[in-house]
């Protein structure tokens, strides 16, 4: 029921906001929370408890407890007591089968009690073992809180904002505001964050609603502001998080109608809602008792007030009907009421301080945990520092009929804790994990101190000797969206990328690059390169300039083959290896000047190779500059028997076989664009790689396709290129080799010039040469048309004897070809091997020479 207008209320009665709850229309005012509006509309049951499905109502109205969690616009676990109303919001109950008022799963509460003590699922559902999958399915279905909408799409933009602050104040209560104001007066840059609205403070940036969720090393404080996670780096952190009212532990303490004073205060003062008709107040401190004034002002009859500082009752319990408070019994005297306001005093919200490194100590005289020995740069002000008015230490639990709930998040009772201790969980950390006390949504806000006291009583020891559990982030619940932030998935695209898409290419990831897999017909595209002319975007190749007086000597040391004798204008294939003689990358090296080498690497190996070069340059201190040109240059390969004719139309240099020989590097203008032309044959046909400034990517691609139209030029993708290179038995590093492969075993002994003074991996390679190797990389050809899987097994004498690294049906050859690692004894031309394909052993023959154009005549023609 809504009270008449009151001074200081936070609602604006001039307008009405409507939302729906379980499909019914609910009216509210701007300034209301969904929880206050529902309460005003008469709703008392807000949720069903985690395990027993007991009805639960508003308790704290401060976002601390789990009692009002609902799904708002399909977002689960929203605490509606602090969630502002929004026009049109759709609110639904969660964790119920049926409705909030009639939840069929509450049968667990009626009959399950004796069978479902703490840890029951560890003991009762393990036998017979074969039934476990059914138990598990059932448990997973009923456990957990809320359901995620699996079909939800991005509805909001989540961001992470990097901020710096000279002073960051967490908490906008009186102490926090005073601290912020003082720091601002000293001329410091101050930011204050609070979950509730704070009146503007001069010279202070106030962020609300925003919650600090942790304190990390280096003064890092993440602050959750709904759609944005602020990552604050603060020079000084002032924690003014306040204190949290603690519930009393007595039978019936979870009934609907049992509330904390702050909950009542907010309902009355902020939202002008009458919380009940008749109330009883039991409190350990004056702040709790003061709520009597609010109740009376709201027209609630205060039937009885008990100040625990004056007397501690032997017996205190609440009677309920249908889960709601009907009466409260204190030392045999029953008081009829529908509202029981209780407080066991306030506990400093020290968690952020503990995360920052403060020590936490139990103050036996006051029965609270207080932070001590704050680390440098961290301050505590106000009640969080333990500056609290005198309060009584409440009993660990009060006697009476019924269950005492110690943890309302996880439905853990006093009896559960006793049982855990009896079972041997004798440290607070172990008992926490077994009983899950403090592990629920409130994260110990309402159960940590009561559980320590109870633990001490059961151990017949002082609570000070029990210790505390570790405070960990997040201190406040945080959505996964805020934690994830913006989904960064950096993708590298060549400057021709969009043309490929316009041509209908299927794109694929290769490392961070997006590349065309094919343009719809990989086999046809591969065949076309042999028969006419193909064009492929190879801009993803790593491209390095190695320049300087020592450039030749530098490469001579890095590669196992020779580069000092490479003539200007010529290209040589090179394999990079690690110190341990393992293949790490391959590519071509063109000498474009006496002191200038143009090095290409594999598409995914570029960054590693650059680091490798820079590392050795630092070690050897040579006069060499290494420049990464990967993105600076676009590269395309025009390959096929008609490639020369096309190039001849676009440049005025001599493109004859004498003008640009196989493995020549030449600079020339092609269609008006400055190019480095590399005549290379990765795909086995006459081909020219054109390397040119990236901004001309689309222009030159378009021009090549236009001017080659009558030559039937067609673009081809990565998949056809893989077929073509396999026909030539050109290896793909990482596909045909792994981290153990070396050039000797990979069938490239000619590349290792062991007579050179030294090169990276030389010693290791010599060892390999002396000791021999267990496997050798060879080609193979299937006897029939089957295509083994890459990674497929080669079977020798009934045992695994090798593996397939690449296999494709070559449309040009009409046969299945591949590469594989086999024992050296089998590495002879025409040896028959057997490869497992779909469970059958299929025959294949070893091939040591390229399948296509074995002598390279077409490459050189």
């Amino acid at each position: 029921m809504r009270l008449p207008h009151r001074e200081g209320e936070r609602i604006d009665r001039s307008r009405v906001v409507t939302f729906s709850f379980e499909g019914d229309r609910v009216e509210a005012f701007p300034g209301d929370t969904i929880g206050s509006a529902l309460y005003a509309a008469g709703r008392r049951v807000f949720s069903r408890s985690f395990k027993y499905h007991r009805p639960r109502g508003l308790l704290c109205c401060s976002g601390a407890c789990p009692n009002c969690m609902m799904a708002v616009d399909r977002r689960p676990n929203v605490r509606v007591c602090v969630e502002p109303v929004r026009e049109g919001a759709r609110v639904r109950a969660q964790n119920v089968l049926g409705s909030l008022d009639r939840d069929f799963l509450s049968v667990v509460d009626k009959v399950g009690g004796p069978f479902t003590p703490v840890g029951f699922y560890y003991r009762t559902m393990i036998r017979p073992r074969r039934l476990w999958p059914y138990y598990e399915r059932f448990l997973r279905n009923v456990a957990g809180l809320g359901r995620l909408d699996q079909h939800a799409r991005r509805s909001r933009r989540f961001d992470t904002e990097h901020r710096r602050a000279e002073v960051l104040v967490v908490g906008g209560g009186r102490a926090g505001v005073d601290a912020a104001r003082a720091a601002a007066r000293d001329g410091l840059q101050v930011v204050l964050v609070d979950e509730r609205e704070v009146t503007p403070i001069e010279g202070v940036e106030v962020l609300t609603p925003a919650r600090a969720i942790g304190v990390y090393e280096g003064g890092l404080v993440p602050v959750d502001a709904g759609d944005v996670l602020y990552r604050f780096r603060a020079e000084r952190i002032v924690i003014a998080a306040g204190a949290i009212e603690q519930p009393l532990i007595f039978p019936g303490n979870d009934l609907v109608g049992v509330m904390l004073p702050e909950g009542v205060r907010r309902l009355v003062r902020d939202f002008s809602v009458k919380p009940g008709e008749a109330a009883m107040v039991v409190s350990a401190d004056a702040a709790g008792l003061e709520v009597g004034e609010d109740l009376r002002a709201a027209g609630v009859e205060v039937a009885e007030t008990i100040d625990l500082r004056d007397r501690q009752p032997r017996e205190l319990f609440a009677h309920g009907r249908r889960g709601r408070v009907r009466s409260v019994v204190v030392d045999g005297r029953e008081t009829v009421c529908d509202l029981l306001v209780m407080s066991g005093g306030r506990q400093p919200a020290y968690s952020l301080l503990a995360q920052a490194g403060a020590r936490v100590e139990y103050d036996s005289s006051r029965g609270i945990l207080v932070p001590r020995e704050l680390p440098a740069g961290v301050e505590a002000v106000g009640t969080v520092a333990g500056e609290l008015e005198p309060a009584a230490v409440p009993a660990e639990s009060y006697g009476g009929d019924g269950r005492c709930f110690l943890c309302i998040c996880e439905d853990v009772t006093e009896k559960d804790v006793k049982r855990a201790i009896a079972e041997g969980f004798d440290s607070i950390e172990l008992a926490k994990r077994y009983t899950t006390v403090t592990m629920g949504p409130c994260q110990g806000r309402l159960c940590h101190v009561p559980s320590i006291r109870l633990f001490a009583r059961e151990h017949e020891t002082d609570a000070g000797s029990i210790g505390t559990t570790t405070a960990r982030p997040p201190w406040a619940p945080v959505s996964l969206g805020v934690l994830a932030g913006r989904g960064h998935e950096p993708a590298k695209r060549t400057s021709i990328h969009h043309r490929h898409k316009e041509l209908g290419a299927t794109m694929m990831w290769t490392g961070m690059w997006r590349r065309p897999h094919s343009y719809g017909d990989p086999e046809g595209e591969a065949r076309h390169v042999h028969e006419a002319l193909g064009l492929i975007d190879v801009s993803t190749l790593g491209k390095l300039l190695v320049a300087g007086p020592d450039a030749a000597a530098f490469l001579e040391m890095l590669y196992p083959n020779r580069f000092a004798d490479l003539k200007v204008g010529r290209i040589r294939y090179g394999v990079l290896q690690t110190d341990a003689g393992r293949i790490m990358d391959d590519g071509t090296i063109g000498r474009i000047g006496e002191d200038h080498f143009y090095v290409t690497t594999t598409s995914t190996g570029a960054d590693t190779v650059i680091e490798w070069f820079e590392w050795w340059n630092a070690v050897w201190r040579m006069d060499v500059e290494i420049v990464n040109l990967t993105g600076a240059l676009c590269a395309v390969n025009a390959a096929g028997p008609r490639a020369r004719e096309l190039l001849g139309r676009l440049t005025d240099v001599d493109v004859s076989n004498e003008g640009i020989r196989y493995l020549d590097a030449k600079e020339a203008h092609v269609a008006g664009v400055p190019c480095l032309i590399l005549r290379i044959g990765f795909v086995g046909e006459l081909g020219y790689e054109l390397h040119f400034p990236s901004p001309y990517g689309e222009y030159l691609w378009d021009t090549l396709l236009e001017r080659g139209a009558d030559l039937d030029i067609r673009p081809f993708g990565l998949e056809p290129q893989r077929i073509l290179r396999l026909e030539k038995m050109h290896i793909l590093v990482g596909q045909d080799t792994d981290s153990e492969s070396n050039v000797l075993a990979a069938g490239m002994p000619w590349i290792a010039k062991l007579d050179k003074d030294d090169f990276v991996g030389k010693w290791a390679l010599e060892q390999v040469g002396e000791r021999g190797f267990r496997e050798q990389l060879v080609g193979f050809e299937m006897a029939n048309g089957t295509v083994p899987l890459e990674g497929g097994q080669i079977v020798v004498d009934g045992r695994p004897g090798g593996r397939v690294t690449s296999a494709r049906l070559s449309p040009h050859l009409g046969r299945t070809i591949g590469m594989a690692w086999v024992p050296p004894a089998l590495a002879e031309e025409d040896t028959e091997i057997r490869i497992k394909v779909d469970g059958r052993l299929e025959p294949a023959r070893i091939r040591l020479k390229p399948f296509f154009d074995p002598d390279g005549e077409r490459l050189r023609s």
Partner: protein, 161 residues
């Protein structure tokens, strides 16, 4: 000896039936919006060597004691490459650039200290050099990330509308 002419977009020649045109890697992602300006067409020259000796009338961003980036108008690159000390490499095609107005949007993209720019760091996970001019931020980064980063920047800027 190569003069690395194949690195320089301005060496392109029109005529004899060809009209070369160049495109920015950000063109598609920035089409139809005004929050972000494309700076990819600026001249960018990397200098290796004694960067203290650089004495040209252009913006010089020091990256390391031996590396610097010189920013200039597109037309001036050829001239500057000749006049700069050490090894000067035309990186115009290598780096994309964009200008974003707004400190908060920039803070959502990078953890660099915006009070201590220019600096090199990551912008939306991409290695970049960030320069500041009041409330305007210029970001230079490898062009192959251009489309991705431009999309992210535009989306972040839209978050403030």
């Amino acid at each position: 000896m190569s003069d690395l002419g194949f690195l320089s977009p301005d060496r392109a020649r029109a005529g004899v039936g060809f009209e070369p045109w160049f495109a920015s890697p950000l063109a598609r992602a920035l089409a139809g919006q005004t929050a972000v300006r494309d700076l990819s067409g600026l001249g960018k020259i990397e200098v290796r060597g004694d960067v203290e000796a650089i004495d040209v009338d252009a913006e010089v961003v020091r990256i390391t004691p031996r590396r610097a980036l010189v920013l200039c108008d597109y037309e001036r690159r050829a001239d500057l490459v000749e006049r700069l000390p050490g090894m000067a490499i035309d990186m115009t095609g290598a780096l994309a650039g964009l200008e974003l107005v707004g400190e908060r949007a920039t803070r959502r993209l990078t953890d660099l200290d915006l009070e201590a720019l220019p600096a090199a760091g990551k912008v939306a996970e991409v290695p970049a050099i960030v320069l500041r001019d009041g409330d305007s931020f210029r970001i230079f980064f490898p062009q192959e990330y251009g489309h991705y980063l431009a999309e992210v920047v535009v989306d972040a800027a839209e978050g403030f509308r």
